[in-house]
Symmetry: C2
Subunit: 441 residues, 2 copies
């Protein structure tokens, strides 16, 4: 829809027909808002809808909802819908999005197992909570598989609705895009909230009751009862349509595109969002990081280019924020594992500071970790974990990394200070300074 909206901004309806096929009923909504809707912070489904098909229609963008594309005829320039209709195109944008990761374990399709992908998933979880009670009047038990952003946000949402919550993950720690030392803080916060976290346990099967409904999960480490199972195992690219048509996939498994979001062998076809491969601005390597921020920008690039205005996507840092309880989490750029994989000689420094002036009654602890290239001092990545006001500071580091700044550059830069917002040396400055002081730069 970003591509459609951008193309319409640049070209009149008389000049460019725009048609959108959508298999579901919603075209522009906040999947990231689902946990907050489930948790009760957001009142209704409609609030998560950014724009309706009718609003797009008012811009002369024709939206066919409930219309699943099942084939692309690249030679003929035609998309075929499940109902047999055929839609010709001069330019095609593929935005099939992501596909929630589902391990090949028995029972994952059973009633009582829920994804967190579409608004209908959120509605189903809400309905299950509203309808259900635990056995013999106990609170319902919610089990979340996976410890990424969505998994942890759903764990908190279920707890907010009164469920006893367990998180089970295959990794040693939640938040695989954080380094272990920072992820351990998140894990500690979850446990302090009363959420049980079981790590290093791959799921083997979903246990079913006599009615064939999910009643628990068996892992290679144990079995856990549950009245409701939520899948938070991450998101792969949904590429079946593109692959069937013969479009090339990249090494990440997502659709291979150039920096204009064009498929290399079919310049009339674009792909954008969670279905498309992209590249990391720091490592230069290919990447698949399914985030709405990237998807929106890529869609705009595709919409611009197909409408005739040159544009290019400038790469990703994988900047992301979330919170669990009162703990805020931000990350950007390369974590140490990624820096290692990309072949950087790097160093990592972590500092402890406070979110506000130390004497301010609302000051909370914050840890800032900065990953820099040895020698040059160039900023490669950063992670922040701390109290209120911590997470969004990651944007300062993301901007500095984006601009190619060194830690010393950042240490000298002019960040703001007032006691309710920061110590006189902002935690970001302190982290940058520690790197500069102790060696390189």
């Amino acid at each position: 829809m970003s591509a459609a909206a951008q193309a319409r901004r640049l070209r009149d309806p008389a000049d460019l027909d725009i048609t959108v096929l959508e298999q579901g009923r919603d075209v522009s909504y906040s999947a990231c808002g689902i946990p907050y809707w489930v948790g009760g912070l957001v009142a209704g489904r409609d609030e998560l809808i950014a724009r309706t098909p009718a609003e797009f229609a008012a811009q002369d963008i024709t939206v066919h909802t409930g219309t699943r594309a099942v084939g692309i005829d690249l030679a003929g320039g035609v998309v075929v819908a499940e109902d047999g209709r055929r839609f010709g195109y001069d330019s095609l944008v593929i935005g099939t999005g992501g596909r929630p990761t589902r391990p090949p374990s028995p029972g994952l399709d059973a009633p009582g197992v829920f994804g967190v992908h579409r608004l209908d998933d959120g509605a189903a979880i809400r309905a299950a909570i509203d309808a259900g009670t635990g056995p013999a009047g106990r609170p319902m038990r919610g089990l979340v598989l996976g410890g990424g952003y969505i998994g942890l946000e759903m764990a908190e949402a279920l707890q907010a609705r009164g469920l006893e919550v367990t998180v089970v993950l295959a990794d040693p720690l939640p938040m695989q895009l954080l380094d272990a030392d920072m992820a351990a803080r998140v894990c500690g916060a979850l446990r302090e909230m009363g959420i049980a976290v079981h790590t290093d346990q791959a799921v083997r099967e979903v246990l079913l009751d006599v009615d064939g409904r999910a009643c628990g999960v068996r892992t290679d480490g144990g079995s856990y009862d549950a009245d409701l199972v939520v899948l938070g195992l991450g998101m792969g690219p949904e590429v079946a349509l593109a692959a069937d048509a013969g479009l090339a996939l990249g090494s990440t498994g997502a659709i291979d595109v150039d920096r204009s979001q064009r498929c290399r062998d079919h310049p009339e076809v674009f792909a954008a969002g969670d279905c498309a491969q992209t590249f990391h601005r720091v490592s230069g390597g290919v990447a698949h990081v399914p985030l709405g921020t990237h998807a929106n920008k890529q869609g705009r690039v595709a919409g611009s280019v197909l409408a005739g205005r040159p544009a290019r996507f400038a790469g990703i840092l994988g900047t992301a924020v979330t919170k669990v309880g009162g703990l805020e989490i931000g990350r950007t750029g390369l974590c140490t594992t990624q820096a290692e994989q990309a072949g950087f000689a790097y160093r990592a420094d972590t500092i402890e500071a406070t979110t506000r002036a130390g004497y301010h009654p609302d000051a909370e602890d914050v840890a800032v970790k900065v990953i820099t290239e040895q020698g040059s001092g160039q900023l490669l990545g950063a992670q922040i974990v701390g109290g209120q006001g911590a997470a969004k500071r990651i944007d300062v580091l993301a901007t500095a990394i984006w601009a190619g700044m060194t830690a010393e550059d950042l240490a000298g830069s002019d960040l703001s200070y007032a006691p309710p917002f920061s110590p006189v040396h902002d935690p970001v400055t302190v982290a940058a300074r520690v790197v500069s002081r102790t060696g390189q730069g």
Copy 2:
């Protein structure tokens, strides 16, 4: 003290004697915290003290408190104290700080008129509030002269202590370093809080009661009763000692130094902080912006250089944040007046957005104004006014300006998103995008 601490980090006591002369009793404290102490948010004076003379002594930094320097003999390399003691030096750092602006109006030295400069000022205001009541049992009336950061923070602090508060300023709006459209939002917030704001009125005299105590203020627009008058008229450089010694002052009236904080004709003498002239990173012009963030960095540069390690101060953007009630305010770089004065052909764009996803119950309005160079799209300055989470976003813009980014660069950069922290397009991104889209870049 920043200079002293930095020099000590680099040179052992056996190698470098460090002596500090301080006229008061505190050497390292948060003047910016005074309003929060007066307002009752911070419990005690001691909390505002970052480091005591004893802590510096433990690092072999000799601090003479209560010792006012009254003369510098540049030829002999000697500082003379009020009590007649003479202190020889090889390198001298002048950190005499700022001098609160006082118009030449009668009565400004009367009892009941308070500065907000040293901790003793805070103690005196607290004592006056604790002791006083208004006439005939009315609430006390506090009058603040000036509408800068300190003035507005003090207005809120006095209101928090139960006073009826009036702010009187000579300018048409508070916050002279904001553009008028943004400052008007701040003025509106003050009035909504029940603080009376009288603009365009230069103070003529402080009215005194029969005991010679301040009981009000007469301006060229009217007279205002007050039980307590607070001066928030800004801060000039305190340069008497330097000027008497024959050190050159710059066109701002502050001590002229090079980028190593050295006085140009006396390379053995440094000046840093509110007493020193500096330069603006965007305009390249000279500047005097008395903020603790700049002072600290300049002190470190002076301390490094005198200890033998090259360093240079990289300039200021004048980044600053504050809040009045629930309204957060941030600014960085050039405002339109400054851009005009610096000779830039500029444009200014303001966008309205929300601090969190629009559907989040805690989402609040935020306005972001971006000033860019016409044609190049280079970012020159920015201002943000809005609800919780608004102000610290100025650091992203400050970092982008620091790095010389254009609005288009910033629009493409990878800022974070999650519903509790941001709409999917961060307000900063939206502002940068609007500039890119509507013309240049």
